[in-house]
């Protein structure tokens, strides 16, 4: 029961926002899949929980579009990890996705902040 309680604090990611979050996270430097998930979770103060089943398809999709690239590296504890980094195209994509996101946030905010006439 306690677990369910905890989940209610979390928000399911909107379609398409995961891509933006991954690009944004990789802006700070190369990172492996687990690291990206952790960073998003930490960055959102545990509000956003990244589902592994969405994360890896997203990473491979972004890679296929050449917005990120991947290499195999040895981690600190000698584990082979697949590390993703942002490409130049990815950086441009990030800028355009961010401005689109911003436009959407503004639009949403505009609607939601209208005086609420009919409240029960």
């Amino acid at each position: 029961m306690a677990k369910r309680e905890r989940y209610q604090n979390r928000i399911e990611l909107l379609q398409g926002t995961l891509d933006l979050l991954i690009l944004q996270t990789l802006q700070w430097g190369p990172q492996h899949g687990y690291g990206i998930a952790q960073a998003i979770q930490a960055g959102s103060s545990d509000v956003l929980q990244v589902d592994t089943g969405s994360l890896y398809p997203a990473l491979h999709r972004l890679e296929k579009q050449r917005w990120i690239s991947a290499t195999w590296k040895l981690s600190a504890n000698k584990q082979r990890t697949r590390v993703y980094r942002l490409t130049a195209a990815g950086r441009r994509q990030l800028v355009s996705e961010r401005s689109r996101w911003q436009a959407m946030v503004d639009a949403m905010a505009g609607i939601l902040s209208k005086p609420q006439t009919s409240q029960s």
Partner: protein
């Protein structure tokens, strides 16, 4: 692909390991941490699947799955796979082989730069042409070529012709095929040398020092591909000629099917001739062909108009002196025209294109029959697999997915079969080309597996796959999952429909087989008819010796004595029963002809073939004399000109007896004015150009009344084997003078070579016909056997109720007889239509010949009966008790 999967697995595992490690670091126990992390992680294989989908390889994965599954099915049932692959390999292989030859002969352009731009500039008609025609294709004289080259502005143009050389200094001829090419030849064709350089306009000046380029094949064959070939010399017509280069390996000249060994500039033809003038100046030697490309800015229409405009001047300025008056106006009216030339010329194409397409059609029908068999097998198997398929459908597989999987099985069979077929086609194609080859002419026909051949094979493969695979696959999946699972006995739900389909397949097989058998019988009868033609002379032991004493440079007055000496020596050889000079060897394909008329009655003009024969010719060939006398030693240069004529000729003069003693006049020719002859004898008709020709008026001049030349052609009959005789003749000639050259033609072999087409058609169509009948037999047998098995319960019941073996046999056979009737009816129609299409290839047999048709129907019916009887017999031995217990 495998790597990428492993990588993904690794990546996900690392993720999980890190999550566990983090949890342990936060204080959870290892077991707790692993369990929690795994729970949070989710379903590993599902994540893998979802990620793989991103790669976009879903269909490929499915294909791999299907192929694996199909291979498993084949392993479980290898008999079916082997039969299917074998019949597909043979069927597609035979088709591909025939197509390879068709491709090489008809479809493939010349291996030159931009072949589609190459045009042939030729005479629209040779109506006004008189003289000596030295090419099988329409050609022009050298003066006409000169004028054409000088006056036309639309083309980059060149002229060429074939040349024959002898590489031996004396004795038996070692033939080398040559080309005379004008200066622009290689430049216009856009060829790059394999060695040295090619000939250019610089090499082609009147009175030139001849230089030669070799074909790649000759360079390899005769010089072992010697890298220092440039600068070496080759002896041609007793002159050493410098070799300046080698042409590219794939270039064999402009004649498809015939290669060359050495090419020389056109100017060399005159330089190397005995007179120093060659054929060049006489306006009555027709031997040059012109090809070229349009110059920039010219269109074909403009160029054609240009050619039409300059033609009158060309023919006005080249009209030979003493041209026969009757032909002058026609000569002046001749016109040039331009036609596409990118595929070159080909005697082979003209002779075999129709038969090859026909054989390709026949092979295609055999493949259809084979496909029908496979479809039958698949249908039978689909019935057996009904339960498996319904289980799969019941477990949620979509119908499309199951059809795709079943089609993958067919496709895999086709793919393996086609792979084998392409390999097989190379060997079969080579064999086919070898079958077309005659002793007289080597065929150079490189069979290349190019995009056309591969495309054709692939098209066949897809068509066959759909043909035999699709219907069974769709039929097999047309079962509702529940119905079959409910019925636990032998699946009967799809049975009825499937049997109907199988029946129609067998009807198609019967119809096609009847048509193919009919066709093969027509061609076999054609061959038999050709073989049984009486040529009018006895060919056994005959051979032709073409002697050439030109290198001896004898004075003209010594030639007659020299010729007699040769004849004497040859006649003295043991085993030689006779020898006589002859200008045109019968059935060799060469010919000469003129118009003639009874002296003083030019209105009774008719056309005749002509020949020059020496004394003893008719006796040696066993051509009986009907009236008058043979030409003999009485007929000399100074005596009255005489001729012997055949019966067909004599018929124009009132019959053999009346003909003797009459005088006839031969029309004027470019070299000789009209001349009269006395008919001294009449002989029986005999074949002249070809076995198949009907008797045609023929006139034999006395060879002894024609001024002798240094080259003499002898016809010799010997009782000894040809090789013994030829070496004896070679020895006898070099005893006279070692510089005399000679080449031999064995007459019976030469005659056999003229019926290559009939042999090929009869042989291949018989092979295909038998194959079709066998395949149909297998199909019919399978159908009857299946029908008996399917109806075993019913038969059991019938027998239990008192039906006897004979009743059951009739029951089964009646069903087959109906199919046979429908099939034979359709087949007869098809056969008659096919016979019409092939009528030009038949000889003395009608394309709808009823006896042949009845024979082929009877043959197939008995085969069909035999195929049905065996399994039907089995039905009569069904034990009612066992059949009913199986239920």
């Amino acid at each position: 692909m495998k790597n990428r999967d492993a990588d993904l697995k690794n990546e996900l595992k690392t993720h999980l390991d890190m999550a566990i490690a983090d949890r342990i670091a936060r204080g959870e126990s290892p077991e707790q941490a692993a369990a929690a992390a795994r729970r949070q992680f989710g379903n590993l294989s599902q994540i893998q699947e979802a990620t793989r989908d991103v790669w976009g390889r879903r269909w490929l994965d499915h294909l791999v799955q299907d192929v694996r599954y199909a291979l498993r099915v084949f392993r479980r049932n290898p008999g079916f796979a082997v039969v299917a692959i074998l019949s597909l390999t043979l069927g597609i292989g035979a088709n591909t082989a025939l197509f390879e030859v068709v491709d090489a002969v008809r479809l493939r352009p010349l291996p030159i730069a931009n072949p589609d731009q190459l045009l042939e500039v030729r005479l629209a008609s040779l109506d006004g042409a008189r003289g000596s025609f030295q090419t099988w294709h329409e050609s022009m004289t050298q003066p006409i070529w000169r004028e054409l080259e000088a006056r036309q502005q639309a083309f980059q143009l060149f002229a060429w012709s074939r040349a024959g050389f002898n590489l031996a200094d004396g004795g038996e001829v070692q033939r080398a095929d040559g080309l005379w090419v004008s200066g622009e030849f290689f430049n216009v064709l856009g060829l790059r040398p394999a060695q040295g350089r090619l000939l250019s306009s610089e090499d082609d000046r009147p009175g030139c020092v001849p230089r030669a380029v070799l074909s790649y094949g000759f360079w390899q064959r005769a010089y072992g591909g010697d890298a220092s070939i440039v600068g070496r010399t080759i002896n041609l017509r007793n002159r050493p000629i410098e070799i300046v280069g080698v042409v590219p390996a794939d270039f064999h000249g402009l004649e498809v099917g015939r290669s060359f060994d050495v090419a020389l500039p056109l100017c060399a033809e005159a330089v190397l001739s005995v007179t120093g003038k060659g054929r060049s100046e006489a306006g009555t030697n027709w031997w040059l062909m012109a090809f070229g490309r349009l110059k920039p800015g010219w269109t074909l229409d403009r160029a054609t108009a240009h050619l039409a405009a300059i033609s009158p001047e060309i023919f006005r300025s080249t009209l030979p002196v003493a041209y026969p008056a009757i032909s002058v106006n026609k000569y002046l009216a001749m016109r040039f025209t331009a036609v596409p030339g990118g595929q070159g010329l080909s005697q082979l194409r003209e002779a075999y294109e129709t038969p090859l397409w026909l054989l390709l059609g026949i092979a295609g029908l055999v493949l259809v029959i084979a496909c029908a068999n496979l479809a039958n097998l698949l249908l039978a198997r689909a019935t057996a697999r009904e339960r498996e398929i319904s289980v799969r459908l019941g477990l949620g597989a979509s119908r499309g997915r199951v059809v795709r999987q079943l089609l993958t099985e067919s496709l895999l069979l086709v793919a393996i079969g086609t792979g084998g077929a392409v390999l097989l086609a190379g060997a079969m194609g080579g064999w086919l080309v070898a079958a077309l080859e005659t002793t007289g002419g080597t065929i150079t026909l490189p069979l290349v597996v190019d995009w056309r051949v591969l495309g054709f094979a692939a098209l066949l493969a897809v068509a066959t796959c759909l043909l035999f695979g699709l219907a069974p696959a769709i039929r097999a999946t047309r079962v509702s999952a529940s119905s079959v699972l409910r019925v636990t006995t032998r699946g009967a739900s799809a049975g009825k429909e499937s049997v109907a389909l199988r029946r129609s397949l067998v009807v198609v097989q019967i119809a096609l087989s009847v048509a193919l058998l009919f066709g093969s019988l027509l061609f076999t009868r054609t061959l038999r008819n050709v073989l049984s033609v009486d040529p009018g002379f006895r060919s056994e032991g005959l051979l032709v010796a073409g002697t050439d004493s030109t290198p001896m440079r004898l004075p003209a007055e010594a030639l007659a004595a020299h010729q007699n000496l040769i004849l004497e020596r040859v006649r003295a050889i043991p085993g030689v029963q006779g020898a006589a000079t002859v200008a045109v060897v019968p059935i060799s394909g060469s010919s000469g002809g003129n118009d003639v008329w009874p002296e003083n009655n030019s209105s009774a003009k008719f056309n005749t073939l002509v020949n020059f024969v020496g004394a003893g010719y008719f006796r040696m060939l066993s051509i009986p004399l009907v009236a008058g006398r043979d030409v003999d030693t009485r007929d000399t240069l100074d005596s009255t000109p005489v001729v012997v004529v055949n019966e067909a000729f004599a018929a124009h003069l009132g019959g053999p007896v009346a003909a003797v003693g009459q005088r006839i006049t031969r029309e004027p020719t470019p070299r000789n004015p009209a001349k009269s002859y006395e008919v001294v004898g009449v002989v029986k008709n005999s074949a002249y150009t070809a076995l198949k020709d009907d008797p045609y008026p023929t006139m034999y001049y006395a060879g002894s009344q024609d001024p002798p030349t240094p080259d003499t052609q002898l016809m010799v009959r010997s009782s000894l084997p040809p090789t013994t005789t030829t070496s004896a003749i070679t020895a006898a000639l070099s005893n006279i003078d070692s510089r005399i050259t000679v080449n031999y033609t064995i007459v019976p072999t030469m005659i056999q070579d003229t019926i290559v087409q009939e042999r090929l058609l009869a042989g291949l169509s018989a092979g295909f016909g038998v194959l079709a009948a066998v395949l149909t037999m297998v199909g019919l047998y399978g159908l009857v056997a299946y029908s008996v098995t399917r109806r075993s319960t019913e038969i059991g019941v019938r027998m239990a109720l008192g039906a006897r073996g004979g009743d059951i046999l009739r029951l089964i056979l009646r069903e087959m007889a109906l199919l046979l009737l429908i099939g034979v009816g359709a087949g007869a129609g098809l056969a008659i239509a096919g016979g019409q299409a092939a009528s030009s290839l038949l000889f003395r047999v009608r394309p709808y010949d009823p006896i042949t048709l009845v024979a082929s129907i009877a043959a197939l019916s008995s085969v069909a009966f035999a195929a049905s009887y065996l399994p039907a017999r089995r039905a009569t031995r069904i034990e009612p008790v066992i059949a009913l217990r199986a239920e």
